[in-house]
């Protein structure tokens, strides 16, 4: 038996010239699912199929309790009756309508227009000052915020986002990603988020689907999928994991915040975090080194976590990737040279200390 809350299930086949999409997978409805893959892997095609914008050769889509594309009967809901929102890479605002009318476009086509929802979205996305402006006068970040608000106000059962921040600078990108995360938590609308930037996926997502040459090659919770370094897009320079921690204290003198993982593991990260605030930390394999000595005070590295070596994987000609397990079951990846591996005589099962040099943080 399946669980009481059915998620999203999809299966699409599509052929366009040399490109073949043959993607089948599922995602939960209680979070943001990252759709990750290299350029040309078929991420956008899959999203367009789900939205009903492509005539797929075979189509199956279930969102919650609703069968949208039925592979048995062949029945497919038309785009406008799917209740699936879409935020495109470009804002695609209607140039002849001001921001207010753009936002209301989808909402006005609902059976009941909810003015309070309108105000909430306007406030959350800080769109108030823009309402009477025309899209031509908006900056890229402003326009994309309007596009997100417009899609949300349609009250979709599923929101598709196709690299909505790809064209924005780093600061705007962070603002919008944080907004997306908060809005999702408030509205409870499941989000499928396409990106080829692993940092974005790590910052935003709870689950992850990896697409390679039109096929779903991995799917599941973000932390476990990030360990799939056998997949081209997840190995290499970007290999790393995320750790979900909670802030404990902030040291203004050094500008460092203290986090804990599972109550006893301590981690120092740059920047200010309020005590109790959940903080997601991204740890790259190349930022982790290994020591045998649990009490090495001579090192400049502040973060020293006890760990167990679980596996050694091939990486490059000169290096290997170590998979480590922390006391509470979280995993870490560490990249070390083959020479170090030999000199330290490391083998699965060994107790080691993981030295985490720097951490990138999602705040």
């Amino acid at each position: 038996m399946r669980s009481a809350s059915p998620g999203i299930e999809f299966a699409y086949r599509l052929a366009r010239g040399d490109f073949r999409l043959d993607a089948e997978g599922s995602a939960g409805t209680d979070g943001i699912t990252g759709l990750f893959g290299a350029s040309g892997a078929g991420k956008t095609s899959l999203l367009r199929c789900i939205a009903g914008l492509e005539q797929a050769d075979a189509a199956h889509l279930v969102v919650g309790n609703a069968v949208i594309d039925d592979r048995v009967s062949g029945r497919r809901r038309p785009v406008h009756r799917r209740d699936i929102g879409y935020v495109f890479q470009e804002p695609r605002l209607f140039p002849h309508l001001d921001v207010r009318r753009n936002l209301e476009y989808g909402a006005r086509r609902l059976p009941a227009f909810e003015p309070r929802a309108f105000e909430a979205v306007v406030e959350r996305l800080a769109l108030g000052p823009l309402l009477s402006r025309k899209p031509a006068g908006l900056s890229g970040g402003e326009a994309q915020r309007v596009a997100i608000g417009r899609a949300l106000l349609r009250a979709p059962k599923l929101l598709l986002m196709d690299e909505p921040v790809a064209a924005l600078d780093a600061a705007r990108k962070r603002d919008i990603l944080d907004c997306v995360r908060e809005l999702r938590a408030e509205t409870g609308i499941p989000v499928l988020y396409v990106s080829h930037q692993i940092d974005e996926v790590c910052r935003l997502c709870d689950q992850m689907l990896v697409l390679e040459q039109g096929r779903v090659v991995a799917s599941g919770p973000l932390p476990s999928i990030l360990l799939r370094t056998d997949l081209g897009v997840l190995g290499g320079a970007d290999a790393g994991v995320v750790l979900d921690a909670a802030a404990v204290a902030y040291d203004p003198a050094d500008g460092l915040s203290e986090l804990t993982i599972g109550g006893d593991l301590r981690l120092l990260v740059p920047g200010r975090h309020a005590p109790g605030e959940p903080v997601r930390v991204r740890v790259r394999a190349s930022d982790v080194s290994i020591s045998r000595d649990a009490n090495d005070a001579s090192s400049s590295i502040l973060n020293r976590l006890p760990a167990t070596l679980t596996s050694v994987r091939d990486d490059a000609a000169h290096s290997v990737l170590l998979e480590l397990r922390l006391p509470h079951g979280e995993s870490l990846l560490a990249r070390i040279t083959r020479r170090s591996l030999r000199r330290m005589a490391l083998a699965p099962g060994d107790s080691v200390v993981a030295q985490v040099k720097t951490v990138s943080v999602r705040d």
Partner: protein, 227 residues
């Protein structure tokens, strides 16, 4: 100015304006779906339709007028149907002129519209679909407003082109006062009878009118661009 002379001046002018107005209205209704189809369709035989639509630009008005004369006349379908139905011929009538003008000015309505619809692209239309709008709704709420400059261009060009029509009218309509004697025909008539003064008056009127229309279009387009 005697009443006769005023009638000689404003009779043809009123008829020209009426013809241009009716033709423009009909053309906008007919050309819009055609232009939309030309802009969106991917059928392989689309160039054939495009070529047919553009024919009136290339063909001498006499050729067009000759075919229309034959087709609209009482001895040949579809002109014979009209004759059976109404007892009158389409040729040498105002109704016949309207039909001929619609054919003659069709490309001047279709081409600006098609160009405007091409510019609209698919992006905004797809977004509108995902926001719950039917295809029809998307057409009227997004495509048409976005293509507004094209509608203005099509209207002004159809109107002006119909106003300036001569050869086709001569072939199909002849020179019947208050029925088919439009300004361009009246001018020709005046020149033929060496009445240069009347020809001058009508020509100047048409010149000013044509200039005013084109100016209106360019000013309106400019305003849009700066809005």
């Amino acid at each position: 100015m005697t009443g006769d002379r005023a009638n000689d001046l404003f009779g043809p002018l009123a008829l020209s304006l009426e013809l241009a107005f009716v033709t423009t209205l009909l053309l906008l209704v007919m050309a819009t779906p055609l232009a939309w189809w030309l802009s969106r369709s991917r059928v392989p035989w689309k160039p054939v339709v495009q070529a047919v639509v553009a024919l009136p630009i290339v063909l001498p008005p006499t050729v067009l007028g000759f075919y229309l004369l034959v087709l609209l006349g009482p001895y040949q379908a579809p002109g014979s149907w009209w004759f059976t139905l109404t007892g009158e011929t389409l040729t040498f009538s105002f109704a016949g002129l309207v039909i001929a003008s619609c054919v003659y000015s069709l490309p001047f309505a279709v081409q600006p519209l098609q160009a405007a619809f091409d510019l609209v692209g698919d992006d905004a239309l797809e977004a509108a679909r995902t926001l719950g709008a039917t295809r029809r709704d998307v057409f009227f709420s997004v495509a048409v407003p976005m293509a507004a400059p094209g509608f203005l261009g099509a209207a002004v060009l159809s109107f002006a082109h119909t106003l300036g029509e001569f050869g086709v009218v001569l072939m199909v309509g002849g020179n019947i006062p208050d029925e088919t004697r439009v300004v361009s025909i009246a001018i020709f008539d005046h020149v033929e009878s060496l009445n240069y003064r009347a020809a001058h008056e009508l020509s100047a009127l048409l010149l000013v009118l044509a200039f005013a229309f084109l100016l209106l279009m360019f000013v309106a387009n400019r305003r849009r661009g700066h809005a």
